[in-house]
């Protein structure tokens, strides 16, 4: 399964956005990551609540616009992946 990562411009990021990517790549080693929209699951990472990274995104996606903690990131992605595998 392919996981796409899409960042916003980060003009005024309220947290270090690439921490989310670090967590994903560490926890979901078996998945193929790319910075492409052509993916089974798209992870949109925005630096603030404006949420630019998800503005034009569609399909299967998870949007992070604040640092929610490693546990929550892993939980949300696992839940979405399970949902996708079931469907």
């Amino acid at each position: 399964m392919r996981i796409g990562i899409k960042y916003c411009g980060g003009c005024n990021e309220s947290y270090r956005r690439d921490r989310i990517e670090e967590v994903l790549k560490r926890e979901f080693k078996d998945f193929q990551f790319s910075y492409s929209n052509c993916a089974d699951l798209l992870i949109c990472i925005s630096g603030c609540k404006k949420g630019c990274s998800a503005e034009k995104a569609s399909g299967n996606l998870i949007h992070f616009d604040e640092w929610v903690g490693e546990e929550r990131i892993i939980k949300d992605v696992k839940a979405k992946l399970s949902e996708l595998l079931r469907s």
């Binding site: 005024n12 947290y15 270090r16 609540k49």
Partner: protein, 525 residues
């Protein structure tokens, strides 16, 4: 104790009946109807040692009433309809935008466009934004409280907003407590009433006691919406209270504040500078002396951990405004200054052109800030939109500074006459009129009276209450500094600097040059 609570609803129905003739099934009031609606209320207001009998008719309050009336009147002007009105997401009806819950960033932008327009039309504060910000802040925060506690505050807020929209009410947003000893928290004050608090909980509602200070437009509003003023802790639950009451609810007393030169309103229309719409909003101290609030009008009661969120959301909305309204007022001051330059024959001097351009630059910078925080706004879980908090605070912080500078330039160009001009009474006195006409003449084609009126307008807008209002309205500068510091990511900026300075690796450099930074610069060492 509750006898006055439904007075507004009854009044509004009466108004509805009469205005059907003019506006079909519109639920909005026009300016005249708004003023008429105030005559049906009986708030307890004191000013200069006397009780105010009629808010709508008292000469000291009338200009503030007129400014607020403009928010109603322009909603019926087809030229401004798109900016001044909105469609309620709750009822689908056309409403005055001041009663709207913002549903998009476009709504946020239209709000600041509306504020600039009203600043231009009144040259003053029209007061109604505070209530608009209060309902939006409560709409957003009550949703969060309910999510955590399973309470029904959000539904109460929605019902209240419908009531405000249906009756086109003006609500005063009351946040600032009187605070007493600022080194002590609410619960540590010797007098516990120095922060508004719940003193009794009953089956049918709560009883509150305390006071709110500097409340804009309070005397000529229909409703008061009270909110906490600061972050609170677990032992301060009684202070975590938000609610709405009619202005004439039993137990409410208002003491209207003085302004510089305010009694000039009793001396004619020239000396005021802006006799029709006054200066800033007209602020009052509101005392809540054991005021009963029924549960359906209570929007927070004890959820202390949401007090800071409510304050922050409200402050974000209110700080967004200032690059709208104050820039509208600045447009009037810039125009007045340019008129003065022409009337005094200095309009073509290069330094005057440069200074007026500087005023425009300062004003438009603030406008950019208001637009930016609106366009960068976002949808909250409640569905309502709010502006970008960082940029809204930057907007307001600029307003604590730039109006001082554009006012300084206005005074510079106007000259010393801005504080030495003879009074209207001397101008009207046959013994001195001809002397004033002759010796205060500027260029030949402009009547002396016009020059006098323009000088007084510059005085009104650049001296007096306008400047401290820019400083402290929507929070004093340090409040914005705290928010800016909290909301900007200094660590990120430090990392950026380390990469540029060559302390940390630059992930893009190798791709650009095909070699590492070290290899690249080794060639030049």
């Amino acid at each position: 104790m509750r006898k006055n609570f439904h007075l507004i609803a009854k009044s509004a129905q009466d108004i509805n009946t009469s205005r059907g003739v003019f506006h079909g099934d519109s639920i909005m009031m026009n300016g005249k109807q708004y003023i008429e609606s105030l005559r049906k209320l009986k708030p307890r207001i004191y000013f200069m040692g006397k009780r105010i009998e009629s808010v709508a008719d008292d000469p000291m309050l009338a200009p503030h009433v007129n400014a607020a009336a403009m928010t109603y009147e322009l909603a019926f002007d087809p030229r401004y309809e798109d900016i001044m009105t909105a469609t309620s997401h709750l009822t689908g009806e056309k409403i005055n935008r001041f009663t709207h819950i913002h549903q998009s960033t476009e709504d946020l932008v239209k709000k600041v466009r509306m504020l600039r327009l009203l600043g231009q039309k009144t040259g003053s504060c029209f007061q109604r934004c505070v209530g608009c910000d209060a309902i939006n802040a409560l709409y957003i925060t009550s949703y969060e409280i309910d999510k955590k506690y399973g309470t029904d505050y959000h539904e109460r807020v929605r019902e209240y907003v419908k009531y405000v929209q249906k009756n086109d009410l003006m609500a005063a947003g009351a946040m600032t407590d009187v605070k007493g000893d600022r080194s002590k928290r609410p619960g540590q004050q010797l007098d516990k009433d120095l922060y508004l608090r719940v003193v009794e909980k009953r089956e049918d509602g709560i009883v509150v006691r305390g006071a709110k200070a500097h409340i804009t437009g309070a005397v000529n509003s229909h409703e008061i919406i009270a909110m906490p003023t600061r972050a609170l802790e677990a032992d301060e639950k009684d202070y975590a209270v938000a609610f709405a009451v009619p202005v004439d609810a039993e137990g409410i007393t208002m003491i209207f504040g003085r302004q510089t030169n305010d009694t000039r309103r009793l001396d004619g229309d020239i000396d005021c500078g802006n006799a029709k719409y006054a200066t800033v909003g007209g602020e009052a101290l509101i005392i809540f002396d054991d005021v009963f609030v029924p549960w359906e009008r209570v929007f927070m009661c004890g959820e202390y951990e949401f007090a800071s969120q409510l304050v922050e959301v409200f402050a974000t909305f209110h700080r967004q405004n200032y690059g709208g309204c104050k820039v509208g007022v600045a447009d009037v001051l810039i125009g007045a200054t340019a008129n003065i330059a022409e009337m005094q024959g200095i309009a073509k001097a290069s330094h005057v052109i440069d200074k007026i351009t500087e005023m425009i630059h300062l004003a438009e910078t603030c406008w950019c800030c208001s637009l930016a925080c609106s366009y960068e706004g976002y949808r909250t879980p409640s569905g309502a939109y709010m502006p970008n908090p960082l940029l809204a605070n930057v907007t307001k912080l600029n307003i604590t500074r730039f109006p001082y500078e554009w006012s300084r330039i206005a005074q510079d160009i106007t000259g010393g006459i801005v504080i030495t001009l003879p009074s209207e009474k001397d101008y009207r006195n046959p013994a001195t009129r001809a002397l004033i006409e002759k010796y205060l003449k500027g260029v030949a084609e402009v009547p002396t009276e016009h020059r006098m009126r323009m000088i007084r307008l510059v005085e009104n807008l650049s001296i007096g209450a306008e400047l401290p209002e820019s400083m402290h309205g929507a929070g004093s500068p340090q409040a914005q500094k705290i928010m800016i510091a909290r909301r900007s990511n200094l660590e990120m900026k430090k990392e950026l600097a380390k990469v540029i300075a060559g302390i940390k690796p630059d992930e893009h450099f190798r791709k650009i040059r095909g070699v590492s930074e070290e290899e690249f610069f080794a060639r030049f060492r």
